[in-house]
Symmetry: C2
Subunit: 270 residues, 2 copies
Amino acid sequence: MRRAHRIAAITKTLVEQPHHVFAVGDFATLFDVARSTLSEDLAIIRSTFERLEMGRVETISGAVGGVRYMPYFTRKQSLEHVEAVCNRLREPERILPGGFIYTDDLISSPQILRNVGQIFATEFQKQDPEYVVTVETAGIPVALQTANALDVPLVVVRRQSRPTEGPVLTMNFLSGSARHVETMSLSRRALARNSRVLLVDDFMKAGGTLRGLSDLMGEFECSVVGKGVFIETGWPEEKLISDHLPLIYLQEVDTVAQKVVVSPADWILT
Amino acid sequence: MRRAHRIAAITKTLVEQPHHVFAVGDFATLFDVARSTLSEDLAIIRSTFERLEMGRVETISGAVGGVRYMPYFTRKQSLEHVEAVCNRLREPERILPGGFIYTDDLISSPQILRNVGQIFATEFQKQDPEYVVTVETAGIPVALQTANALDVPLVVVRRQSRPTEGPVLTMNFLSGSARHVETMSLSRRALARNSRVLLVDDFMKAGGTLRGLSDLMGEFECSVVGKGVFIETGWPEEKLISDHLPLIYLQEVDTVAQKVVVSPADWILT
């Protein structure tokens, strides 16, 4: 197999499983070439991705030697993707009675989900999370694409437990916006003790759910290394958590003027 | 940019968005090369993927001219992936009281989900589905990875409706195994009329949920072009649907002998 063929095969393998470390030796054996030749192949892929801002290819030196692809968006790329979603959110036909806004089609789009997952992966990969954790239902697609981009398992906390989960840990928490008590539960075997977890949710008002999730992680003796939120609302002003990373600020839904006031989160704009 | 670099960039773009048609001319402009040169690049990617059984690259001729990557597993590859999951399911520590079996960790693994999504994409892409539809909660990850592999939106039917969905269509259906009435609801704007939909769920006993989903699709004037099931149980023997595609048969969970009897579905074995 010639270089161009090898590069097609290696690129596919790396990109399809982001963050997964592949042994360089395995590629060398597969293509029956010297390791030095393969290192040149990888250098070409790495420099191409770097030049076209397509993410990062990282080679890990040492006895075994590995290579992995890590999704990485520049701030400008993240902003472009977030702006595109903001434009969609501004469509007046999304406004529902009571100042709600229809977002189901956005968190259904493979392309939007992939981009959001890669933005969160870009921002949180330094924290090296071992799980992505979310609560059912609407947060699952965004959380799964983040887990995918980081190559870690997705853990879904339930509102109600099911017999197929085995022993569960159930916890009450205070919904910050609605001011009522809700329940979440998670199988005892879902998380290994002392793990680093990244919390991801699609929507945050006061942050009661994320606060509850954080407390639940404490019960599992896990540490929360990041909290990603797709859309945060401007109301209520007082939030129950502070150290989260929203992508989009939904400041106001004006049902009279039929206007949605929405913008990328500050950190993306700077 | 030399050929090897172009191939790295094109392969990444194609693989990251399966089924999406990219204009060949756009690649030619991006790299500032003649279309004929680019056709040679694509031929190299195509032949490499073919030779290594890494899926298909399809070029679409015509005035515009397009190219896309389509995940494709050989029967042998599908069987290998399904066998690997069966081996995990046989672990006796999965057995829960009441003959239930713990599967949450399997439908949490990015790698397993990706493979299952690609198997369903392989089997159903001929039907050209426009949406993948599932019902909350456990089916969502499998369904999303199928939607991803097919580049179509994922639609999640709810057990209960929420104010953020706008007007919904609610339907009662008979749960086949538990023999009680359940409810499902879906936003009126979730599906365009006359669409082709692929139903995907993680677990099927009698098939009441899939039967209900099929009926619901009828209410939306959509046609069901396929039904994919990750795990089907051997009980009850009588099923409410017949034309579905399971990947795994869970024949028996023997709580006394602590044995899980499980195998790949017949069609994969032939």
